[in-house]
């Protein structure tokens, strides 16, 4: 990293010096041409004066023209041959044109070099800045479960509670470890998405099947937390996405909704979908704690966590960021809406509609059966 930077800065300095050099060269060439042209004009004027003096002293015009071939004599007056004067002017203009073209070409090329290097330097500074703030945020996110884990362990060591009293402490520690593990997974996932280093497939998938898969995994938890999960999605609705990415997107949105409803002490989550000519839309609405409408954009940023209720929320602040990135990569988008704190919220996932191709469209029934 450091060697690259030194190289870039050296290159930048060299290019700037070259630009100054080209400027100086242009100035110098121009001055030289001006000097040469005026010297040539002066020499021609001397020839004309000499020819006139010869004529005035009675020399034959033919003899004068023979001695000074660049002079024409007419009616006893010596003057410079028009083709010579013209040739001088033509040469003068040709040189100025040449400098203008060459100068602008080199200047443009050098300016392009400077722009490229400056851009690279700026981008690198931006990346470094982002990495720093990312590291600061990540370490901060880890310190809370770590502190909780340490506190539980030291409580066990200090108070040596019986098995009965130790149970909640152990449960808490296991949950803290799970929380940190989830963070590591999500951080790696988001880092891969960030660099675009993901190999996403694009295949037509049944939205209803993906939603059914994810809700089946979360149903037990929802029941425990007094949350009703219901979905009404037509089996014909199809989106083009990576199968794993689709599951991650639906799961993260649902987990977010579960946390929001849990904080409100229970409630319901409904999933519905509809299709227009151009888009397929999945709407996840919950009766949870909601958020201030002004915060809807911040929701999908990295490490943004909204206030939880009394029961708290263990989010890593990466779940919805991952949703946004995956949706963008699938050519879709995501948005969230709430009427305010305590008023529930809804998340809208939108995919571009599948270009209708009978071969690519899975048959609803067949699609279901072929799934293992």
């Amino acid at each position: 990293m450091k060697a690259t930077r030194v190289f870039q800065l050296t290159a930048l300095a060299l290019v700037v010096v070259s630009a100054v050099q080209v400027g100086w060269w242009l100035f110098d060439q121009h001055a030289y041409t001006v000097e040469k042209v005026s010297a040539a004009r002066a020499a021609y004027a001397e020839q004309v004066a000499a020819a006139q003096a010869l004529l005035d002293s009675g020399a034959a015009p033919a003899r004068v023209q023979q001695l000074l071939p660049g002079i024409v004599v007419s009616g006893g007056h010596a003057s410079l041959a028009p083709q010579l004067a013209e040739a001088l002017t033509t040469e003068e203009h040709r040189r100025y044109r040449q400098y203008a073209w060459e100068g602008s070409f080199f200047m443009l090329a050098l300016a392009a070099c400077i722009a490229v290097i400056a851009r690279a330097l700026r981008e690198e500074a931006h990346v470094r800045e982002q990495q720093d703030s990312f590291l600061a945020l990540v370490s901060h996110q880890f310190k809370t479960p770590l502190a909780s884990l340490q506190l539980s362990l030291e409580t066990l060591a200090l108070r040596a509670p019986g098995p009965e009293a130790a149970r909640p402490l152990i449960d808490r520690m296991l949950a803290d470890v799970a929380r940190m593990e989830q963070m590591v997974t999500q951080i790696l996932e988001s880092a891969r998405l960030e660099r675009g280093r993901v190999d996403l497939k694009s295949e037509p998938l049944q939205l209803a099947a993906a939603v059914a898969r994810v809700t089946a995994q979360l149903e037990e938890r929802a029941r425990r937390e007094r949350i009703t999960l219901s979905s009404d999605i037509a089996p014909t609705l199809t989106v083009v996405s990576d199968p794993l990415a689709l599951d991650v997107v639906v799961r993260n949105v649902l987990e977010n909704a579960l946390a929001a409803v849990k904080s409100a002490g229970g409630g319901r989550i409904t999933l519905s979908a509809r299709a227009s000519e151009r888009e397929v839309e999945l709407l996840v609405s919950d009766s949870g704690v909601g958020f201030a409408p002004a915060e809807s954009a911040r929701l999908f940023q990295k490490f943004s966590r909204l206030r939880g209720g009394a029961s708290g929320y263990y989010g890593t602040g990466l779940g919805l960021y991952i949703v946004r990135r995956l949706m963008e990569l699938a050519g879709g988008r995501v948005s969230a809406q709430s009427d305010g704190l305590g008023k529930g919220a809804s998340v809208r996932l939108t995919w571009p509609a599948v270009a209708v191709s009978a071969a690519a469209m899975p048959q609803p029934a067949a699609g279901e059966e072929s799934r293992p």
Partner: protein, 242 residues
């Protein structure tokens, strides 16, 4: 803590439920009465109607952060001691916490025993301060035309100017007045007023003495009450230097 007194009440303001539960269980096990608040607003609401001996305050809270909560508390004239808990522990952050009116600062993850020790130390300092200002004779200090009310954290200076004292200024003045005429070292002042290792240097004490001189000396450049004993510390003279 005598057996006849009710146990000190501690308010724990922490948004992480696990950490809050761990802190509260341990404080209860030590005999404190504990109340929890998951965010700054609820903490301020509770404090508006209740008193407590100590607030354990997380810095990174949803909504208003811990520093803002502490500043609001102080602006309301509430002098309840505050122990900050934070995920950031660099010196600049510590200073910010103490400037906001905090008494002590602990970086996460912290050691349980150290946490309990600090809680005890803060409560002991305030116990001492309150009991040392309990009688009408000890609640008010008069010197060189100045009058200091330790219970109200207010003073009237020799020139008639009303002064609001910070808790630290009042505590320093209390320590010095208790040992009037004697030399008190900077380390003693740090230990009595701040506890251990909160501030990086004893220079902090010097700054507070300068502030006290500005408030109460007729000529702060030639102090007659707050005298420097070079290389050792300070001596307070109630009558003024002859």
């Amino acid at each position: 803590m005598s057996a006849t007194l009710p146990p000190p009440h501690v308010l724990v303001v922490e948004d992480d439920p696990h950490l809050a539960a761990g802190v509260m269980e341990n404080l209860r096990a030590e005999g404190y009465e504990v109340t929890a608040a998951p965010d700054g607003e609820q903490a301020l609401d509770w404090l508006a109607g209740h008193g407590c001996a100590l607030v354990v305050l997380d810095v990174m809270l949803p909504g208003a952060d811990g520093l803002a909560v502490c500043r609001t508390l102080r602006a309301r004239g509430n002098t309840t001691p505050v122990l900050f808990l934070t995920a950031r522990g660099d010196p600049a952050d510590r200073v910010r916490g103490l400037e906001a009116g905090g008494d002590d600062y602990l970086a996460k993850p912290f050691h349980l025993q150290e946490f309990l020790l600090r809680v005890r130390a803060i409560l002991r300092r305030w116990d001492w301060y309150r009991s040392a200002s309990a009688t009408s004779a000890t609640a008010v200090l008069r010197f060189g035309g100045n009058e200091v009310d330790f219970r109200a954290f207010r003073a009237r200076a020799w020139n008639g100017e009303a002064q609001e004292l910070t808790e630290k200024e009042a505590m320093i003045l209390k320590v010095l007045a208790e040992h009037a005429g004697e030399i008190v070292s900077r380390e003693d002042l740090l230990e009595r007023v701040w506890g251990y290792d909160v501030f990086p240097s004893t220079r902090t004490v010097d700054n507070f003495i300068l502030r006290l001189r500005k408030r109460f000396e007729k000529d702060p450049a030639n102090p007659r009450h707050f005298l420097t004993v070079w290389g050792v510390g300070y001596r307070f003279l109630g009558e003024g230097e002859p």
